[in-house]
């Protein structure tokens, strides 16, 4: 969610039961504008909040130009001092899904996540799952970074046409984006994963007649399994659409139809809901 629009969260994301309070929104807005200035970002976004036991983590990101791979993430526990998020490591990606405990709220804490939830039986060859010696301890800072990455991969959504692949390969925001229409919004095909595409480049082009490679270079969310893992709702008399990911409860995307306003925010405990196949 763009930091200058945080004051509107109540009416936009309130339908999902989350918002940023007035005082907090002003605090975040101002501290993020300062962050934006320090890092020479073109735009600065509030990504969301991960609830911890002692403290909550607030996550923000910004980019200079490239809005997909050029994002730089920051986190903070008091919304005032923003710390640079470490790079996602392989070890972090391996161990984060295993961590079952809540975030403590102290980025320097190191926990043995392997012991509480070993991913495979001890007599099995570990080489099959992870080459190299199996790491067992995870720093909370790394866990946060990997978690944000995991959530982005699964549940970060942009409406079709909002991002634009420039001829030089850069992904930039489409300044001429005018929003998607009501009929388009009824299909999940109109929403794209905001991640580096995992499918072949022509998969999306072949499934639609009005293809345009500059716009359809990302994966659509309608191919996610199981069918029904996205909750699409129309609100305010079909003037707004919200998308919830059942895999990451707390991730909410909104888009005001026929307008360039869209955004998403995660407020939750940072736990993936693996029960989805039982639910739908």
């Amino acid at each position: 969610m763009e930091c200058i629009r945080l004051i509107d969260t109540l009416d936009l994301l309130g339908h999902a039961g989350v918002c940023v309070g007035t005082e907090n929104s002003q605090l975040l807005q101002n501290s993020l504008i300062i962050l934006q200035n320090e890092n020479h970002f073109r735009k600065c976004y509030y990504w969301g909040r991960i609830n911890g036991i002692q403290n909550d983590y607030h996550v923000a990101y910004g980019y200079e130009k490239e809005c997909l791979s050029g994002r730089i993430y920051f986190y903070s526990t008091n919304c005032l001092d923003w710390l640079l998020m470490p790079k996602v490591t392989k070890c972090g990606r391996f161990l984060t899904p295993l961590a079952v405990t809540r975030f403590e709220g102290d980025p320097s804490i190191i926990t043995n996540v392997y012991k509480a939830n070993p991913p495979f039986p001890p007599n099995e060859d570990s080489k099959r799952h992870y080459d190299g010696p199996i790491p067992k301890e995870l720093k909370e800072e790394d866990r946060l970074a990997s978690l944000v990455d995991l959530i982005n991969e699964d549940a970060f959504v942009v409406p079709r046409g909002a991002w634009f692949k420039a001829p030089n390969g850069e992904v930039i925001e489409n300044p001429g984006f005018e929003g998607i229409t009501l009929t388009e919004a009824q299909h999940l095909k109109s929403f794209l994963h905001g991640r580096l595409p995992q499918q072949k480049w022509n998969t999306n082009l072949l499934t639609r007649s009005d293809y345009n490679y500059a716009v359809d270079f990302l994966d659509t969310i309608d191919t996610d399994v199981p069918e029904g893992c996205w909750d699409l709702q129309f609100l305010l008399g079909c003037r707004m659409v919200t998308l919830h990911s059942l895999y990451w409860p707390g991730m909410t995307f909104y888009h005001k139809l026929n307008s360039p306003h869209y955004g998403s925010m995660y407020i939750g405990y940072g736990k993936k809901n693996l029960d989805v196949p039982f639910m739908v």
Partner: protein, 583 residues
């Protein structure tokens, strides 16, 4: 006169000339495309015209966009030969319904003028209408979203609900997110006359059911008798048809059919309306103002037990059938009601001192054990706790004000061994009988008493059950204390000064550390008693057969060998085989 210096004249083709090149280029650009009928020249003129008219920033970056837009616009046919038809806006249908809510207050206020004269003060507090905007003000500070527009509509529609139904103590319970529709839930007490009326109705219904049951069993008995008679007749017929053959060969000696000794455990009775988990009544609506409020049915103990064993996403349709293992008795509305009961019991919390055991009823509480069934009432002398106490992470200044649901799915324990007796009587008896210690007597389940501080709550796998935050660090004198439940993500409570409220906005699922595992299937039951008749025995190998044959070979009867070899294949070499051979 070989040379003319007039520059207008076309020079020979081999000489370079600017004019000529321009003309040629223009001609090329003006060539119409056979597919679209446009020419690039016209198109560029239009694009440049549009860009100049609109003057966008960084025009060169979005040039392609403009070009495409223009082509799309050109493609649309401007001539519509259909008759001009007005299409109403998408929100028109909704607006028509919502405007009714705004018309209604005029009538109620007229009625309202007559009411206060006759009503007591107590009644007024009971009939107090919840003010959602006030709630919104507090929850908004703490980061719980209740959109302004929806709250106004919700307020109006709750007023309508109260006018139409005999309910009091109305409270906005929360919202359950679903796919594709959400539920808004309102909690209320039924008025006493209504409760009595319903209890009578259910009792009458049960009475009739019982009568029907009795008559049915009588019928069944009659049916059985008739069937037996018919069977007997049939059997005699069969026998009489060809008695000679049947009597001789087909007197089959079946073992008796196995009898079932399993009896279903006695069904745990659900609690009466107005008590325990059914103390409150819940109304749900998928979109207040547009859809009607639907009253949820009362919850039974079985539903609560089954709901604990499943996860299911709500669909927003109350009649959705639920297919799970173990089977859930009912449809989505029963599941929703069970989840609401569980959430309410677990997450209804208030600052300590807000409620106390009602002054008049203290004697009764003494009788009832640990105030389990005790009535609590609002403490009129509540002294607001300071914020520092409210956000104490030990949570000792908050307490539960709803009864805990036992494993049985009830708030009060029901003894399956003494189903006929009254509960309270039995409790006394049990104390006496304790010494005898009947082996089958089950341990009485006891939940924590009412108004237990949250500090007593168990933590699940090192995750504390509650988290507290204050809404503002900079202005602690105005800040609101917010409590989030970690067991039921989405359950919130706030308190500040003389205000507190509970709210749930979430998916209606309990937090589990290791995710959901469906209960395993029960063991397959034995059809027969395991004995030598039904056991499988390894087939003997050819060598073994040969050995056996040679050992048992009667020396003189060589010609029978072929037949014997086949028969030797029998699993267990019995002596009877010899007899069978002869058959």
């Amino acid at each position: 006169m070989a040379f003319n210096y007039n520059i207008e004249e076309v020079p020979p083709a081999d000489l370079p000339c600017v004019e000529h090149d321009i003309k040629r280029a223009k001609k090329f650009l003006q060539k119409h495309s056979p597919e679209s009928g446009d020419s690039l020249y016209d198109h560029l003129t239009d694009v440049l015209n549009k860009i100049l008219a609109e003057r966008p920033k960084n025009a060169v970056d979005i040039f392609e966009q403009y070009s495409r837009q223009l082509k799309e616009e050109r493609f649309r046919s401007r001539k519509d030969h259909l008759r001009d038809l007005y299409v109403p806006p998408a929100q028109y249908e909704d607006a028509k319904k919502l405007i009714e809510l705004f018309r209604q207050p005029v009538q109620t206020s007229e009625n309202g003028e007559d009411d206060p004269a006759g009503d007591d003060e107590e009644d007024e507090t009971k009939r107090r209408k919840p003010n959602m905007l006030d709630l919104l003000y507090y929850f908004e500070q703490t980061g719980v979203g209740l959109p302004r527009a929806e709250m106004v509509i919700l307020n109006l529609s709750i007023r309508k609900l109260m006018a139409d139904n005999p309910i009091e103590n109305v409270r906005f319970w929360g919202k359950i997110l679903g796919r594709p529709k959400n539920y808004w839930v309102v909690e209320a007490d039924l008025q006493e006359e209504e409760i009595n009326r319903r209890i009578e109705a259910t009792e009458a219904a049960e009475q009739t059911m019982r009568e029907i049951d009795v008559s049915e069993t009588v019928n069944e008995n009659q049916d059985d008798a008739e069937k037996e008679a018919a069977n007997a007749v049939l059997a005699t017929d069969m026998e009489s048809n060809d008695p000679a053959v049947e009597e001789k060969h087909l007197v089959l000696n079946f073992p008796p059919l196995p009898e079932g000794h399993w009896k279903p455990p006695p069904e745990i009775p659900s609690e009466r309306i107005g008590t325990g988990v059914n103390k409150k009544t819940y109304f749900v609506s998928t979109s207040p103002g547009l859809d009607d409020w639907v009253e949820l049915p009362t919850v039974t103990a079985q539903q609560i037990i089954a709901a604990r064993l499943m996860v299911r996403c709500f669909t927003g349709n109350l009649e959705t059938p639920i297919y799970t293992f173990p089977a859930f008795p009912g449809t989505e509305k029963n599941y929703l009601r069970a989840q609401i009961a569980r959430i309410t019991a677990a997450t209804s919390i208030s600052p300590i001192g807000w409620y106390n055991f009602g002054g008049d009823e203290e004697e009764e509480i003494g009788e009832e054990e640990e105030g389990l069934g005790g009535n609590i009432s609002e403490n009129p002398h509540y002294d607001p706790l300071p914020l520092k106490d409210l956000i104490d992470p030990s949570m000792s200044n908050w307490c539960h004000h709803r009864q805990h649901i036992l494993k049985q799915g009830r708030t009060t324990w029901w003894n399956p061994n003494a189903p006929e007796e009254d509960e309270e009587e039995f409790a006394e008896e049990e104390d006496n009988e304790d010494d005898e210690g009947a082996p089958e007597a089950q341990q009485k389940e006891v939940g924590p008493p009412l108004l237990t501080p949250l500090s007593e709550d168990a933590s699940v796998d090192a995750i504390p059950a509650w988290t507290v935050r204050q809404s503002s660090l900079v202005q602690p004198d105005f800040a609101v204390a917010i409590v989030r439940s970690n067991l039921w993500p989405g359950a919130f409570a706030f308190a500040t000064g003389k205000r507190f409220a509970n709210l749930y906005i979430g998916w209606g699922h309990k937090f589990t550390v290791y995710n959901y595992t469906p209960p395993s299937m029960p063991l397959v039951q034995d059809q027969y008693k395991i004995g030598p008749e039904v056991m499988e025995v390894q087939d003997p190998t050819f060598e073994m057969e040969e050995e056996w044959r040679i050992a048992h070979l009667p020396a003189p009867e060589l010609p029978l060998m072929g037949e014997e070899e086949e028969l030797l294949g029998e699993a267990s070499p019995d002596e009877d085989e010899e007899d069978e051979d002869e058959d």
